[in-house]
């Protein structure tokens, strides 16, 4: 699914996907692994089409609860598991259409649009990379972007100068750029 991914790697990912799904179908407790693998993608997909964090969280939650409930009926047809999740997310967005969509663009088209999915995939990789940042950089990113705190507030809380926090923020984002492999460039 990711841009430029060699075919054999994509195939391996699909067969690993399949093993995980079958394991979770036998024992629903294994669903956690499918969740870990797909959380950022579903969240990124949902966040593109709704107005705020609460709605993105609601949708993501709905998709995974639905996926867990319907897993026994999921039949492997060679399409990545995440495509099934995207479709569920798109349908859930359509269901709430009037209250939540950012634009009148049918999200079901996103679920089939290669460019839209590549963008979602890229954001999901970005979200995952945040977890791999050095702890102080990661803390600044989360406080700034998730908690929407000002540099001054963060500086006060961490007992550092505002300049130092801006430097940390800069280094964190530069780090993410490098780790994304220039995909954002």
């Amino acid at each position: 699914m990711a841009r430029g991914q060699p075919r054999s790697e994509a195939r391996e990912e699909i067969s690993a996907d399949r093993l995980l799904i079958e394991a979770a179908q036998r024992d629903p407790r294994r669903f956690a692994e499918l969740y870990e693998q797909n959380f950022d993608r579903v969240y990124a997909f949902s966040a593109r089409r709704v107005r705020n964090r609460e709605e993105a969280e609601d949708l993501t939650s709905e998709v995974f609860h639905q996926a867990l409930a319907n897993l026994p009926r999921f039949e492997w047809r060679g399409v990545p598991f995440v495509a099934w999740l995207y479709r569920m997310a798109a349908n859930a967005i359509v269901d709430r259409w009037h209250s939540t969509s950012k634009e009148q663009i049918d999200p079901r088209r996103d679920a089939e649009d290669k460019a839209a999915l590549a963008e979602v995939e890229q954001r999901a990789s970005l979200f995952q990379l945040v977890a791999s940042l050095p702890p102080d950089q990661r803390r600044v990113i989360i406080q700034r972007f998730v908690e929407q705190r000002s540099i001054r507030e963060i500086a006060a809380e961490l007992g550092r100068s505002e300049g130092a926090i801006k430097q940390l923020q800069f280094r964190a984002i530069e780090n993410l750029r490098v780790r994304l492999g220039g995909a954002h460039a």
Binding site: Q25, R26, D27, P28, R29, F31, A32, Y35, E36, F39, D40, Y43, A44, A47, R48, R53, A56, E57, T60, S61, F64, H65, L68, P72, R73, E75, W76, R77, G78, V79, A83, R87, A111, E112, Q122, R123, L126, F127, V130, I141, I142, R144, F145, V146, Q148, S150, I151, G163, K166, Q167, Q169, F170, I173, E174, L176, R177, L180, H184, A185
Partner: protein, 327 residues
């Protein structure tokens, strides 16, 4: 005025992004990739949310019974059991026309086939040669493939008779019809409204049994009482006849449409994996089925029983009770 450091310039842009979500502030070109990342970071999910949802799902999953499937590997609830004249020839046809994979066959001393299983896509089809006790009972099957046209032509080349050429149906299927050398009708379809890389409507697998009973309403009613069937879809004609219905039984779908014109009732054999063959047998009889075989342990490791429904379809109820290696 001293020029702002890159870190300060980036922060200015981020501040603008956070306070005016719809605008991307202009920055010098070396910062542009970083601002794009910052734009995406606005959608960064909350870690607490991710952890909480995970634990909710884990709690829900731990309450769900682990899916102990009462099926033999590769099987689903319903499997068509075709009894035909010339089972070996039919297997060859299914391989050539539909890319079927032969899983195994049990030949009789006279060379005829006592039992065979082939896999088509994600579905199993079982078949056997007819004999005095079990005369041929050709039926109708719905087959979903990635390209109905090419499979139709392959089927004709492999010896099938055309019943209708590929057409676009109003319900979103490209669909053709053939009769195989064993006399079974196949509706070969590609569901064009399916999602990316898919060609099967939601809930269906490669092969689905399609019945044309006289009295579909009564048959559905029986299936609900006998086998806890649920109606997944029902389309009626203005006169109230069932044009098309999808009936969910276990994890599978059975399709049907009231008999009319050339679409005659062709009762068939259906292999039905259940959690408890004895209980299912009793429930079916109570719902009006006729007993064919009382529950017994079959040598291949299944507890089995068989009943006849009011339309003449044979239901072979089965629950695996022990593992017996396949021949």
């Amino acid at each position: 005025m001293p020029k702002l450091s890159l870190a300060a310039q980036l922060d200015q842009a981020i501040q603008a992004l956070l306070s005016h979500p719809d605008s991307v502030p202009p920055v010098e070109s070396s910062l542009a990739p970083l601002v794009r990342i910052a734009t995406d970071l606005r959608d960064l999910p909350r870690e607490e949310f991710k952890a909480r949802l995970k634990s909710d799902l884990e709690r829900k999953a731990s309450m769900a019974t682990p899916a102990v499937t009462p099926f033999r590997e590769g099987f689903h609830s319903l499997t068509p059991y075709l009894i035909v004249e010339g089972a070996a020839k039919l297997i060859d046809f299914l391989k050539q026309a539909f890319g079927a994979e032969e899983k195994f066959r049990v030949p009789k001393p006279d060379g005829s086939i006592m039992h065979a299983e082939v896999r088509i896509g994600g579905s199993v089809v079982e078949l056997a040669d007819a004999n005095a006790q079990y005369p041929p009972r050709p039926t109708n099957l719905h087959l979903y493939v990635p390209d109905a046209d090419s499979v139709y032509h392959r089927a004709i080349a492999a010896g099938a008779t055309s019943t209708h050429e590929p057409v676009d149906q109003p319900y979103g299927d490209r669909e053709a019809g053939i009769r195989d050398p064993g006399g079974n009708n196949w509706y070969i379809a590609t569901h064009k409204a399916a999602g990316p890389g898919q060609f099967t409507p939601e809930g269906l697998r490669a092969v689905t049994i399609y019945l044309h009973p006289k009295g579909a309403v009564q048959l559905i009613d029986f299936l609900k009482r006998a086998f806890n069937a649920e109606e997944a879809a029902r389309y009626e004609s203005p006169e109230g006849a069932i044009v098309h219905a999808r009936i969910r039984i276990g994890d599978s779908i059975l399709e049907m449409g009231e008999a009319h014109g050339p679409y005659e009732p062709r009762p068939t054999g259906i292999h039905f994996y259940v959690a408890d063959a004895d209980a299912a047998y009793r429930q079916a009889l109570a719902a009006g089925a006729t007993s064919l075989t009382e529950p017994n342990d079959a040598p291949y490791g299944d507890r089995t029983a068989a009943v006849l429904d009011p339309q003449g379809n044979s239901w072979f109820l089965a629950t695996p009770i022990k593992d017996v290696p396949l021949p």
